[in-house]
Symmetry: C2
Subunit: 221 residues, 2 copies
DNA sequence: GTCATCATGTAAGCCGTTACATGATTGC
DNA sequence: GCAATCATGTAACGGCTTACATGATGAC
């Protein structure tokens, strides 16, 4: 799951260093991938060892030195200039030795595997993450992803309903079970709309067929 | 989370052995607690060590001994007789040495602590489990549980909305974020109805007040 | 000169899983 | 006699978290 998020981000947003990866994951995908450093850095090391990413030590080619410093006469002014020069010299870096990571071809292939996620966990986060990166998937695989998820949820719904069928449950347990069923149906409905959108996008003839316009528009409630 | 499920089950359904605990958890609470033996048995041992449960070796009052064994002369025959005698001797059990667990007073106190779950994880399973056992909680604690959960969800909703506010998201990422917000609102609405029901149950005067009947009825959609 | 932020990493621990080992009992 | 089910446990591993260690840089 973490690997998928890292690779996806590197693929979409270009080369990044660890700290930045975490920041962007938190900001962009919020709850789907709010990862801690304690898992992020080992994950990056693992991916590098596997050849899925390359790290450059971020000793990037230094910019040509800035124009000579006009003395200001004030000490704090000189200081400020020195600081800014140092910043200018290491421009684009600003900070510590930052290891910048870039996704490799092997990484892209791994990303594709994780994205289809045949043997992946069926938790909502994992699915949400895969769907969030679904534009990197060919259309049929995308549809398959959605339908596999739909199948999982309907199976779980059946389970929940058999659990709810027994009447040994008190008010609170009943409320929980009922709400689980409700939420599952809500999710399934959402998937159905997504699937419908995918299907109509996959058959471009539909847009040309008479009367098809109504079916195409307004997919996402 | 596991401890809570075990203690709750032992409290509600009386004394049980490990195998049965797992069975009932799977059947009754389904997705909330489908636990594996690999975690269940260590958990029971832990709870026993902590004094939260007592185990009786299931050497329940033995039936009067069967008639003396007539020797058959064959070794396997003797064996078979020994086995069947053992079976007869331990009548009502039928199977292996089953350790039957019973919740203690310390266990009940621990259960109450876990149920209020002040420092517990905020994942849906954990909350669902606590709510499912909420009838063992005093009414104010129950209300507090619901309101704490509501607060968490509204905070997360705000997070999701700030994440969704940026327009760097493509169709799929957007769909995921939007649906997360949607599902959160759905959950919050459900909590609101539960809270409302709790509140009106907590103020018995309300039922007597004129015109209050409409507010009380039909809480749970 | 001190505090917040940026930046990378290690160590320990939590909470669960699957797989393995063992064995009794029942039903066919 | 063989498979399915009942019953208890151990071992190894997974994937994540928190806490800790370290240090540079920037802002005031």
């Amino acid at each position: 799951m973490l690997d998928l998020a890292i690779l996806g981000l590197l693929e979409e947003r270009g080369d990044l260093h660890g700290y930045e990866i975490r920041k962007q994951l938190r900001e962009g995908l919020g709850l789907l991938a709010n990862v801690s450093f304690g898992s992020l850095y080992p994950a990056l090391a693992r991916l590098e060892a596997a050849g899925a990413v390359e790290a450059t030590e971020a000793l990037e080619p230094v910019e040509p030195p800035a124009a000579p410093v006009p003395p200001t006469g004030s000490l704090s002014g000189e200081w400020a200039v020195l600081r800014s020069r140092r910043r200018a010299t290491r421009r684009g870096r600003g900070r510590r030795s930052r290891k910048v990571y870039r996704i490799t071809d092997r990484g892209r292939s791994l990303f594709a595997d994780l994205l289809t996620g045949q043997g992946a966990a069926d938790d909502p986060r994992s699915f949400g993450l895969r769907l969030a990166f679904a534009r990197h998937l060919p259309a049929p695989a995308r549809l398959a992803l959605l339908e596999r998820r739909r199948l999982q949820l309907t199976e779980r719904l059946a389970e929940v309903r058999t659990a709810g069928g027994q009447d040994a449950l008190d008010v609170y347990a009943r409320a929980v079970v009922d709400h689980m069923a409700d939420a599952l149906q809500h999710d399934i409905g959402w998937l159905d709309r997504l699937i419908e959108t995918e299907r109509s996008a996959a058959t471009p003839g539909a847009a040309l067929a008479p009367g098809a316009t109504a079916a195409v528009g307004g997919g996402a409630r």
